[in-house]
């Protein structure tokens, strides 16, 4: 199951392979969008900058900003696969989102300042969207931005901010107009995460680790020019930037690799000498999950081909998101259940894969919630894909 690469993609891939061979960083590749360790940040940033520099990431940017101006979803796909295969980190953070927003809506001075810094990965970026009372209903967000003299004054709270504790800049959504409909009152900003009045409080997630944070803004002052586009344009900017984000997760953590790892696991003898795979129910269930994983990859490849030929359907990405995240969770769940009573033993004490499956069982849950919960994806598929009536959307002015 592989995409057929033409000569130019093969030479692109070979170039990347040799680049990785010569520049392999010493820091680990982490699953999903997990945050690097603080002490690894310098090496992480240098590695990401190298990927930009050598045309493996950001090659689709306009020429004047260092790219070739030619988007190529097949190249993106090759990069994701090669980084994963080689076990080296991929760039994380909101750098891509902010770059898209700036390229389309940014002022010239903003582009001139931030775009080169993004390419040199000088800064880590986070996405300041969700709030305690605005999750799926993001447009209900309440963090306020008020123009006072030459500065915007930000007050409010964000939550689930991935990489917030490591970030230099944030892509912030805040309400600038309380009097208009909820979507129309939102604006987009760049905020310096080191500004006085910002309090970043790490949150521990189900696995016990910290990747995301609460972020409090107590009259934080940012320059007037830090708004992207014009006041009230925030929703439009965000939608457009998000549309460029690819359904990446399935190339972050390969479900086919997970299934292969499970196959290896079930062929190993247990303490009592039995081999799990010899059980009919084990082989059947593993077969079903493996088939599911293979189809996830086929859907992903089809998505890439469609994107490359400009024939993507309106809900292709939502379908891939649901299928990937649910298959991923099912695989991890099976990985734990297979171990029977010993499946409760976590961490290095687990005799199986150093506790990988216990950790994966918890970590996998993030994907069914983040980037639009799977229920929201199903609403979208039904409405935008199948033309069914929209959910009631009461308009709030605040």
């Amino acid at each position: 199951m592989q995409l057929q690469l033409d000569d130019s993609l093969v030479s692109f891939r070979d170039g990347l392979r040799s680049y990785i061979g010569h520049n392999r960083p010493s820091i680990p590749r982490l699953p999903g969008s997990r945050s690097p360790q603080p002490e690894d940040m310098a090496e992480f940033k240098a590695w990401c900058a190298g990927l930009f520099d050598n045309g493996f990431v950001g090659f689709d940017w306009p020429e004047e900003w260092g790219g070739t101006g030619v988007p190529d979803p097949l190249k993106d796909y090759v990069v994701d696969l090669e980084l994963a295969d080689a076990g080296v980190p991929r760039p994380v953070g909101a750098f891509n989102l902010i770059a898209r927003a700036l390229l389309e809506f940014g002022a010239d001075e903003q582009k001139a300042f931030y775009l080169p810094r993004i390419r040199s990965f000088t800064d880590m970026w986070c996405q300041l969207f969700s709030e305690p009372d605005a999750g799926s209903d993001l447009a209900a967000l309440r963090t306020r931005a008020e123009l006072v003299g030459d500065e915007w004054v930000i007050t409010g709270q964000k939550v689930w901010t991935t990489h917030g504790h490591l970030s230099d800049f944030g892509f912030l959504l805040a309400r600038t107009d309380q009097t208009v409909s909820k979507h129309a009152g939102i604006s987009a900003f760049i905020i310096d995460m080191h500004s006085p009045g910002i309090d970043v409080r790490p949150l521990r997630e189900v696995t016990g680790a910290t990747d995301f944070n609460e972020v409090f803004f107590d009259s934080v002052r940012i320059p007037r020019d830090n708004i992207i586009g014009s006041p009230g344009q925030g929703w439009e900017i965000t939608r457009s930037a998000l549309a460029h984000e690819r359904a990446l997760s399935l190339r972050e953590d390969s479900v086919v690799d997970s299934a292969a790892r499970l196959l290896e696991l079930v062929q190993r003898s247990r303490a009592d000498g039995t081999v799990p795979l010899s059980g009919d129910d084990v082989s059947r269930r593993l077969g079903e999950l493996t088939a599911r994983a293979r189809v996830t990859d086929l859907l992903g490849m089809e998505g890439v081909l469609r994107a490359a030929t400009g024939t993507s359907g309106p809900v292709d990405a939502a379908i891939v998101k649901v299928v990937f995240s649910e298959t991923n969770l099912a695989l991890a769940t099976f990985g734990v259940e297979l171990q029977g009573a010993d499946g409760i033993i976590a961490g290095p004490a687990s005799r199986v894969d150093d506790g990988h499956w216990q950790e994966a069982y918890l970590w996998a849950r993030g994907f069914t919630i983040s980037a639009g919960s799977n229920e929201i994806m199903r609403n979208l598929i039904a409405e935008n894909g199948l033309g069914l009536p929209r959910e009631p959307r009461p308009e709030r002015s605040k």
Binding site: S278, R294, L298, N379, I381
Partner: protein, 347 residues
């Protein structure tokens, strides 16, 4: 010659159009009255227009389709749930062509060109193959003049069903396709392929064509259901506005997309000769389960009307379940997938 994507889309449109005209849904009502039978009129039209010869190589004046093209026909035939033995004839001819039988036995090719059908037993899987026999279980649409491929551990025997061949009809839950058990005399074996791989190739080809047919069946049930959900009102709203129904339809659509990718992947694998077993097991696991599940959901969304004999929906539910269980159940294929990947028998 295999088609490119655009050609294939056009080809699909032509197929769909043909079946929409020649085998509209109303035509299915006969099966509610008379039970399963062979749709002679439709078959004549399919023969006349060359549909039956799509798997015959180009150098023998056939369509020369690769499996990636042929699954399109199977899917559209499934969508129409029509009663002509097109899917088995195409799959059977594909295997005969692969083993050179159409060239070595010109009379077989001539008969197929003239409208003879090709069929095979649907109750087998590679683990159930035994010694060469003179009988076949659960054969689809067998009748005098049909060619019957009989798989065994020794390979494939090609049998010409004639008036003397014992065919006893088997009543099944599928009301459109007829099944029978066939017992024949060695004198009607017209060709033998002494290669076990030929029996496996028949199996893999038949599984992919079946998965494609099931996908079409599920798509038809889904389309009916989506339309119904936009028209049926309760509590002053169309039922499609209730989130429970919306999410059910979204899930049905997701399963259809998964089955589509699995079928296309498997057909390509056979055409390229790579990862064939892994791909066909995947197609049957995903596609077989999807079709049964989608047609069941279709019934739930239709409410009481979907539970009536008069509504054609049950014909789709019946076909989806029959296909799911024939040629290896999903559970069988799932174990086989793991065996193929592990490279050894697992139990």
């Amino acid at each position: 010659m295999p088609m490119d994507l655009e050609e294939r889309d056009e080809f699909r449109a032509v197929c769909r159009d043909f079946f929409a005209k020649r085998a509209p849904v109303d035509r299915l009502r006969r099966y509610l009255v008379e039970g399963s039978d062979f749709d002679d009129d439709l078959w004549s039209a399919l023969v006349e227009q060359g549909w039956a010869l799509l798997a015959v190589p180009e150098n023998l004046d056939g369509g020369g389709g690769g499996l990636a093209d042929l699954v399109v026909v199977a899917e559209e035939a499934g969508r129409a749930l029509q009663g002509a033995p097109l899917v088995t004839t195409i799959a059977g001819t594909f295997v005969l062509a692969r083993y050179g039988v159409l060239e070595s036995h010109p009379e077989v090719l001539e008969s197929i060109v003239a409208g003879a059908t090709v069929t095979y037993p649907m109750g087998f899987d590679p683990t159930s193959l035994g010694e060469r026999t003179n009988s076949a279980h659960l054969v689809a649409d067998a009748r005098p003049g049909s060619y019957l491929l009989v798989p065994s551990d020794s390979g494939l025997d090609l049998v010409l069903v004639d008036a003397m061949t014992k065919t006893s009809a088997v009543e099944t839950m599928d009301l459109v396709r007829s099944f029978s058990d066939v017992g024949f005399d060695s004198s009607v074996v017209v060709a033998s392929i002494d290669d076990r791989q030929a029996a496996i190739d028949l199996f893999t080809t038949a599984v992919v064509m079946q998965a494609a047919e099931s996908l079409g069946v599920a798509r038809a049930a889904f389309d009916m259901t989506l339309a119904y959900s936009k028209e049926r009102k309760q509590f002053d709203r169309t039922i499609g506005s209730f989130q429970a129904i919306k999410h059910r339809l979204a899930d049905m659509y997701i399963e259809l997309q998964c089955a589509t990718a699995a079928v296309a992947g498997a057909a390509e694998s056979i055409d390229n000769g790579s990862e064939v077993l892994e791909s066909i097991h995947t197609a049957k696991s995903v596609g077989g389960r999807a079709a049964s599940w989608v047609t069941s959901q279709a019934q739930q969304v239709h409410g009481g009307i979907g539970f009536t004999w008069e509504h054609v929906l049950h014909l789709y539910i019946r076909r989806a379940k029959a296909n799911e269980l024939l040629l290896g159940s999903p559970a069988w294929h799932e174990r086989a997938l793991v065996e193929a990947l592990a490279g050894e028998p697992v139990s």
